[in-house]
Amino acid sequence: MSSDDAHSSSSEHDSTDQNPNPSTSIDQSLDAIEGQLTSISLNHRNSPLPEPPIPPPHHGIGDTLPSDAHSQVEEVGAVEKSGSDVEVENSVSRGEGVLWRNSSDVEGEVEGQGSPSSSGYAGGKGTSSSSGVSGSGIEEISGDEVDQGEGGIRSGSFGGSVDSEWVPGKRHVNEDDASVSWRKRKKHFFVLSHSGKPIYSRYGDEHRLAGFSATLQAIISFVENGGDRVKLVRAGKHQVVFLVKGPIYLVCISCTEEPHESLNEQLELLYGQMILILTKSINRCFEKNPKFDMTPLLGGTDAVFSSLIHSYSWNPATFLHAYSCLPLAYPTRQAAGAILQDVAESGVLFAILMCKHKVISLVGAQKASLHPDDMLLLANFVMSSESFRTSESFSPICLPRYNPMAFLYAYVYYLDADTYLMLLTANPDAFYRLKDWRIRIEMVLLKSNVLNEAQRSMLDGGMHVEDLPVDPSPRSGSLSSHLGQPRPPPDSADRCKALLGGPCGLWHFIYRSIYLDQYVSSEFSSPINTPKQQKRLYRAYQKLYTSMHDRELGPHKTQFRRDNNYVLLCWVTQDFELYAAFDPLADKALAIKTCNRVCQWVKDVENEVFLLGASPFSW
């Protein structure tokens, strides 16, 4: 009850406050429930003193703490729902009697015939092979062998230095649904047409998966025939998520324990990527000819899709729906913005300067605004297509959130290995004019040293948790409402120093500004410094995001959660969302205080980590 009160008081926001930064102290919202929580945690921990801050070894939760695992999760505020409790069994599976089976079962045959006979992913053989797949989502992260496609996150920040070793492109082309290895892959994506013809598969050869593809269509159509719609099927550890977009069907089959909402959004993005390449006019082709095969039109784009799917395991932009900027000194970004502004005024719809996945500057023509998802898909398209790197290009592209029906033209030019310029226009004859503009832009950027600064920023990274100011910054006096009352416990200084990562056990954070549609995340540092740990943290954030934005129970304001791996703290206001990960033994009061400091810190450096002054990105 008291938590409800505390919660409602924290949700009272000053709606006139347009500051994209904190206006409420998290102390107020969480402190009120503090007492209640302390008693809870005392029940579970015999010693109130933190044990040595060594992160627990890598285990499935069930392995180490079979009985206690669940009670270790502390939750606060309005969030009652831990991810593991989610019980969503949707419409589905009306066709209880399995109507589609592997036809080789007819003869009691096992796989190995010359050509794949097909269907039943979860049927017959599927079941036996899935039981061979190692269990929990945590194990999945270590399951490189079966999960090679996603295993390659390098150290560096989310959205920063993407691993250099991960090579986009089709994997395991020789597999099909009869292969044991194919069946063991943790996460499949399929795209097919409404007649059951395969369009894309993450693993394996599309044609050899024709039978499997037909099975998927049959399932979708069968439910549709009954006037219903299949959205999700749970089969043991596997979730099968369906998304129907007119004549195009998208399916994800996953045992990664990601929330099905996340998988659904990933399918949406996959569809968006397809629209970016072909526009929604593709629907007309299917209307004219249901036999239409769109794979020839997608020729050579395997790398685009595999790279997008890979980003689902490291790029927070895929679930935050926000973009991130390359940290730069304010005047540097201004210099880039000024010249882009000139181009935009000359009739270019969007002028975007990016360094890998991060924005240096971005300008839109009047009233034109760019959705973060479109930016994600556009950047992914450009970066994963090798040919853009080797010459200046002029390519038709479609921005699905801007106008899914029609093409724009993108002039793309790499200024150096990482930095590229994209000028979007509606004029198909603008190539030479844009080329001239590019030359001018390039000169300005060289003169103002933007490219060198960008390179340096790539090397230095942005915000490191170790640098989090321990003392209130000099400016904090004027922002006391945000900082709360700084009254550090006597032992705080010592404990802060004793821990890995940043002060008070802070390991990592993501701050998303709602007004700017931008986010900034800290660089990875010890102990989150292996790809495995980074991916695990990414998945934890993803789950946290989903639970905070739950459509039925949410949205929520705060969440504090402790498990074997982390303390996760999330705080959502109308201005920002903060996701922070701490040492699992971090003290709650200190963690809350630290989050306030992070918000202040972001505020102090917002000129450098965000692109300010750009027009609002959503209308």
Binding site: T215, Q217, S221, P290, L349, F407, A426
Partner: protein, 206 residues
Amino acid sequence: MASRRRMLLKVIILGDSGVGKTSLMNQYVNRKFSSQYKATIGADFLTKEVQFEDRLFTLQIWDTAGQERFQSLGVAFYRGADCCVLVHDVNVMKSFDNLNNWREEFLIQASPHDPENFPFVVLGNKIDVDGGNSRVVSEKKAKAWCSSKGNIPYFETSAKEGFNVEAAFQCIAKNALKNEPEEEVYLPDTIDVGGGRQQRSSGCEC
């Protein structure tokens, strides 16, 4: 190069229950035959690669259930088919008589653009049974019906002995190829920024 690309053909197999649709498929795809009868439930799907005149095809074979209770699956199953195979048992007159129903049903459900020229293939199966002594549908009769329906190719087959099965499926690939639509240039619109038909839905313009 574009003409060299692999084509995927969706092939639907229709016919009364027990005429040997699944057996034909199994013989063709897996070179196996079992005399034990198991009714197909709903549909089975098989994939087979075929080479025809230097071109590689993937046949996506939809083996449907012959029982009437599964016929409601129609529209979804028939959509976008490239070829339809009608099977009857030469020893059962009713299965031959029903070919007409199956053909009509297919044309209604799939509603192809050019129903007159949609590629069908008719297979008279089980010619091996009883040394041909129990046969009731003559080759002549079957061929006559086929020619009356726009010269549908006709094959006499034995799934058990593997007789003529390969030839029949080669013909399926050939027919589907003949029916291949000309490739059109894919030309979506370009955004018209200046003009009136701007795309915004209902967003506010502030």
